[in-house]
């Protein structure tokens, strides 16, 4: 299995704002040695946020950051204990965040393809619903795997 999430997942994240979520995800990524500098990566994520909404539909957001502090492409997941205010396509608050982490150089095309498959899988309502209600990490990853998102 091409698990780009690994340990970068928290299905009970205790964060109260969009920025807090993005920052705490950057902290997690640095702790797990995916990125070398959480502040530089967080800045890259905010740069992308400024371009347009990364909140999609039904409570799911896909922020992403491209930076040379990224060691390997990865996916970080937060499911939050409370709804977050977030600029989204359907105006709904966000509860489930998939952060796509991409290096600026030495990109692995297969990794990029996994990220693209995940993005495509997340547009399906049945996948969204199952992920939003799944609180077990192993089962959560299984849903992604079965939906072609891994």
């Amino acid at each position: 299995m091409n698990d780009l999430i690994k340990d970068n997942i928290n299905l009970h994240a205790n964060v109260k704002t969009r920025k807090e979520a993005l920052y705490q995800m950057s902290v997690m990524l640095e702790k797990n040695d995916v990125i070398s500098d959480k502040d530089a990566f967080y800045a890259a994520v905010l740069d992308r946020e400024a371009i347009g909404p990364t909140g999609m539909e039904n409570g799911i957001a896909i922020p992403h950051g491209e930076s040379d502090v990224v060691k390997d492409a990865a996916i970080a997941v937060f499911k939050t204990n409370q709804d977050l205010k977030w600029d989204s396509l359907d105006g709904k608050p966000i509860k489930l965040i998939f952060m796509l982490v991409v290096p600026t150089q030495h990109r692995d095309v297969n990794h990029l393809k996994i990220l693209s498959h995940l993005s495509a899988a997340l547009t399906h309502k049945d996948v969204q619903q199952r992920l939003l209600t799944e609180n077990n990490v192993i089962d959560f990853k299984k849903i992604l795997e079965k939906s072609g998102g891994m």
Partner: protein, 105 residues
């Protein structure tokens, strides 16, 4: 209605692929035929063939940046929208296009 499309977004990681998936799902549910090429960070995928372009009634470019190879669609009816339109309201986008084509013909 036969559709060919190209999707592309600023970073080329997420919206490009979401827009493609949504356009294809919507076309399927409306019983239309759709081929959609992505121009993202992984390069060009599902590249449109000459035959697909020739046969298409409409070209949909769902992009937030300039795409590569727009000259392939010279002489065809082209609709340009941001990726978010394709992601958010793909079915109404396709229905609107279909109606306009019917009126034009």
């Amino acid at each position: 209605m036969k559709i060919v499309g190209v999707t592309a977004c600023t970073v080329g990681i997420a919206h490009t692929y979401m827009a493609r998936e949504k356009l294809i799902s919507a076309a399927k549910s409306l019983e239309m035929e759709a081929h959609v090429e992505t121009q993202g960070s992984a390069g060009m995928e599902n590249q449109l063939t000459e035959e697909q372009i020739q046969a298409a009634d409409i070209v949909i470019i769902a992009a937030d940046v300039a795409i590569t190879g727009e000259d392939r669609f010279h002489g065809k009816a082209v609709v340009k929208v941001p990726t978010n339109t394709a992601i958010q309201t793909p079915e109404s986008l396709l229905r609107t296009i279909q109606k306009k084509l019917q009126v034009a013909n």
